[in-house]
Amino acid sequence: MTSDARSQRPIASLANVTLKYGAVSALDDISFEIPAGCMAGLIGPDAVGKSSLLALLAGARKVQQGQITLDGGDMANARHRREMVRKVAYLPQGLGRNLYPILSVRENIDFFARLFGQDTEERKRRIDRLTKATGLHPFLDRPASKLSGGMKQKLGLCCALIHDPEVLILDEPTTGVDPLSRRQFWDLIDGIREKLPQMSVLVATSYMDEARRFDWLVAMDDGKVLATGTPEELLQKTGTATMEEAYIAVLPASKRQTENAVIVTAKDVPVQDDIAIEARDLTMSFGNFTAVNDVSFKIRKGEIFGFVGPNGCGKTTTMKMLTGLLAPSAGQAWLFDHPLDPHDLATRRRVGYMSQSFSLYPELTVRQNLVLHARLFHVPELRIRARVDALADRFDLTGVLNALPPRLPLGQRQRLSLAVALIHSPEVLILDEPTSGVDPVTRNRFWRHLIDLADQEGVTIFVSTHFMNEAERCHRVALMNEGRVLAVDTPDALCAQHNADTLEDAFIDFLNGDEQVAPPPVTVATKTTAGRDDRAFTFPSFGRIASIARREQLELRRDPIRLTLALVGSVILMFVMGYGINLDVKDMRFGVLDRDQTALSREYVQNLSGSPYFIEQPPISSPAEMDARMRSGELSLGLEIPHGFAADIARRRPVEIGAWLDGAMPMRAETAQGYVLGMHAHWLGFKAAQAGMGELFAGPAVVQTRFRYNPEVKSLIAMVPAVIPILLMMIPAMLAALSVVREKELGSITNFYVTPTTKLEFALGKQMPYIALSTVSFLLLTLMAVTIFGVPLTGDFVTLFFASVLYVAAATALGLLISSFMRSQIAALFGTALITLLPAVTYSGMIDPVSSLEGPGRIIGAIYPTTHFLTIARGVFSKGLGFADLGAPFFALVVTWPVLIILTALVLKKQER
């Protein structure tokens, strides 16, 4: 096969490719060719540039310098990339990183199939075949989040193979997968390749034992290519027996000296007899699922105790119980003879914990992370510096103390995690899969550190792993599967029990005995015709939009809390705000400083206190008192009736009543002003009529005021049609606001990069479910307005309905635009709140008409969609209008949505930079 492979033209070639992240270069002037039709492997430790190289080849990352040719075309050319996405399948690094965790196995594959335009029949056939081949068929309805690591990778593979790719790019597909699943995975790939001999497979791996499987290899280090060729050639050239040794042999001389392939084990480290950790009958149930079932073991002081088993077997849960993060459902644990108490801060100081995922603060530098943890563990301030320096020196972190962790290679990050766990010199270390995803050289060094710790400092180490060669280095191991401990013994004894040469064989034997796992039959794919959809890619495809919309909709439906919040929340808000917002001024508290104290002055006051607008408070006795009471806000209006009020009126001498209004809230003061003047005029007229002097007080003309559209001037009738637009802006925008930035944070955005989805299709598809949900919300709110609030809908409902669809489309597009623009979810949240709350409430004419606004608010108000929908809502609800009258605002909405969506498409990036 290898000689065949080399005779063909290359599937990919790289010429002087360089890639930099900021100042750090990931790939440094790389040139080589990959032969077609074979399985080519990129080998080397972590962060030497393998992932970057594959992402460039897959078109997921933008080419910076140099030229990459894949299948005869330049990958810097957008047109060629659009063609290649049909031929290439890409499985990014990280377990299930491109999967949608809350969707089921079937739905995940179905999503990809629809993106490639396959019809129902074809999708069903392919899903059936792929899941049967991978052994996932029985789990079709299980959510991806509930799959083990190995199953997740198989599902990823199904998704990748759905469109019969000609090039399959797998980035560390078996990292973090247990040995049994790893074997099955490679058998599966072999089976596929037998059926599809033309397919080129490019794989990155840091497992050197896997390298033997590849037809052709590229050994990489530090962004450079060390060697290329078949495995045999490499072994011959270096004169070594294993790939691991061969790799070390091709390393530059300077590096080679520090590496050494000697395997260290814990066998020579003495162990004391005292018990450090004891678990007795520990059980942990989540609902009806038992994650850990009746687990018991004892770990002695100074022992390195290994915990081995496939992903999802309960290792992490057991460890969390021992750190006090989880309270066990049953059973108990002891730490240094003390029953474990999560509230006991003193024991926490004796334990160091390193969790499975890298969980240090990405925004703090290496030094800041170390110092923070030292301080939190109360390492004396004077000793922190020395301690940090010592650990940095020990774990070779001195050169990167001021770097941010996300920029570091995984191996360095793991060493940082270990350094952090050791900062307070704990007596017990609990390490949850500390080396998963770390290359063998780094792992070897890591283990040397662990053994040193146990040997020189007597630290007890409880470590979980799925690498069997790591388990072999422990004093004792516990084999775990499906929540139960199968056996606890020394590695040698376990091997002996099963007559196995290696622990890996012994473990697989155990597992087979435990659950009768047979490798699934490999009966993949006869060659089928390529996907049907060969149309030009630049036009939006309804099928792909529908596919993205379907997936988004499924995710929304699986999150009933979000659905309920969106629908019920709008209804509640409508209630609170519809009833609550009232621009009318009622119950103004006023007090009177009556210096006259006559029947007439009291009559004047009664005139005011008898109205529903004013409530009289106890009388005021002095100007100073009036001042104080108004200052405290108790009085909103103060009246002063002068001495001789009644007498002066009788003598027809001019009299002046003083009135002071609280101007702190101008709107209220203005309305109140009108009422006070009105009441005063009313009193004058009344007195005049009483005295038969009507003419004296009556004016020469009358103004009859007619309040139109809302004759009783009820706030409710004016407010409800204004509250609906506000709710339909804020909630839909917030629904859409996290949809893109979340995919960016969680990694599934890669699917958008490497499938034939255009930016416009992506944006439109994401919007659809939110538009539908918000339209339902609109109907609900309108129904409420008419029935519960009794707001008459006097105009044309059809106009209102179509306007509302356009409006929620604009609102969700606004959220999507923010989402595409922002990098973090927090910024997206705050940005959305800022860009919706103020413009919708203040600039859109709900309280003050847009025409009377000033400054930037005026401009925002003029183009903001809420303004236009508010005009339509008020027109249809209160003014009895239809489409003919509302053409202008309707047209504005028709324009707003496409503008926002096109902006979103422009901001979205089709490749990572």
Binding site: E363, M577, I581, G633, E656, D662, Y709, L727, M734
Partner: protein
């Protein structure tokens, strides 16, 4: 509680925030331009109200009336006919339409007290309420002045001298700038604390904290404290630079007292942020919860419409919202120059609400640890 732990965690929170440049830009924007544009957007009292006049009289008096409406209170009146009036009001072009009947001047001079019809678009609440009073006063004033040239009409013997205190010009800019500041303070403090907690949960770092000799109380206090400090600093800037200097709003009372009240308010809102974050299971859920909480806080706290006019149920419920007390306190101190002897009830209310929210958040935080 270990004060040292809290201090160390606070430093960590601040450093994390500083690494998010987009967020920093948004914060600066919110406390400067956003407040500025909200303050200048709202018209000074009645501003540029659109008015149309149907003049069926075409007399010197009716022309005099039409001339009396001019900016800034009103836009120059459009002279229209009866048929246009309805269409223009339907389209929302005019808030007011004045219909002067034929023979108006003649009837006035004859002492027949003729009626002018004023049509008001009542869906435009504020302009409708304040504006109709103005229109009446202007029309009657013009008629009175006109008549006085022909007849001797005595001044009414009882005059009402009405003045507004604390903001004599009834400038909306004063009020709007402070209300927007309150709105931004509330929004940011809830989002910062809540999202910071959810992010720690999504990145798994919270687990790391929980295995260290650090208590849940310390973790929560550090979040409340650090984000409170960030917003406090931003508020001081906005108040002294934006509101006092740029917008020229005179502050009547003590800034120190106001900032003390702000501290209590921040204690309540940051605790609320933590509480919401423990209720939400993911960032998208938190986003929706946020909207459900922010809208009532913004609309019903007395900053947008007067509290006294709300139904009593709503008034009662909103007593539990920190913004209600903060708005009342801000008005009293900043505009009316009130001292602690006046605003202690609001201080007390904020302290109680803050403590209750803090305790609730802490209890929720503890009970949800297992779910992280």
């Amino acid at each position: 509680m270990g004060l040292r732990n809290i201090a160390h965690l606070c430093v960590k929170e601040m450093r994390s925030l500083l690494r998010d440049p987009v967020m920093m830009i948004l914060i600066v924007y919110a406390f400067s331009l956003e407040i500025y544009s909200a303050a200048v957007a709202l018209p000074e009292t009645l501003n540029k109200a659109p008015i149309a006049i149907v003049d069926e009289d075409r007399s010197p008096l009716s022309v005099r009336i039409a001339d009396a409406f001019y900016p800034p209170f009103f836009l120059r009146p459009k002279l229209i006919n009866q048929a246009q009036m309805d269409a223009r009001m339907d389209a929302g072009l005019d808030t007011f339409a004045l219909d002067i009947p034929p023979g108006f001047q003649r009837d006035v001079l004859a002492g027949k007290q003729p009626a002018i019809q004023l049509n008001v678009d009542a869906t435009r609440m504020t302009q409708a309420f304040t504006g109709s009073g103005y229109v009446q006063a202007i029309v009657l004033g013009e008629v009175q002045g006109f008549v006085q040239r022909y007849r001797d009409v005595s001044v009414p013997p009882v005059n009402l001298a009405l003045r507004a205190r604390f903001n004599p010009e009834l400038s909306n800019r004063w009020f709007a700038s402070v209300i927007e500041l309150i709105s931004v303070v509330t929004m940011l403090s809830i989002i910062l604390t809540g999202a910071a907690l959810i992010r720690e949960r999504e990145h798994g770092t919270i687990e790391h904290l929980l295995v260290m000799p650090v208590t849940v109380t310390e973790i929560m206090t550090s979040k409340v404290l650090s984000m409170g400090i960030v917003v406090f600093v931003a508020t001081s800037f906005a108040l002294t630079v934006m509101i006092q200097q740029v917008l020229n709003v005179p502050i009547a009372g003590s800034l120190g007292l106001f900032m003390a009240g702000t501290t209590l308010h921040l204690f309540a809102t940051t605790s609320m942020g933590v509480l919401l974050a423990t209720l939400a299971r993911s960032m998208p859920q938190f986003g929706l919860l946020l909207m459900l909480v922010l809208l009532p806080l913004e609309m019903l706290s007395g900053g947008t419409t007067p509290r006294e006019s709300m139904p009593e149920v709503v008034q009662f419920i909103m007593q539990a919202a920190p913004t209600t007390h903060f708005v009342a306190m801000a008005q009293a101190i900043l505009f009316r120059g009130a001292g602690l002897e006046n605003v202690w009830p609001q201080f007390l209310a904020l302290a109680v609400i803050g403590s209750v929210l803090f305790a609730l958040a802490l209890a929720r935080f503890r009970s949800t640890i297992g779910d992280f």
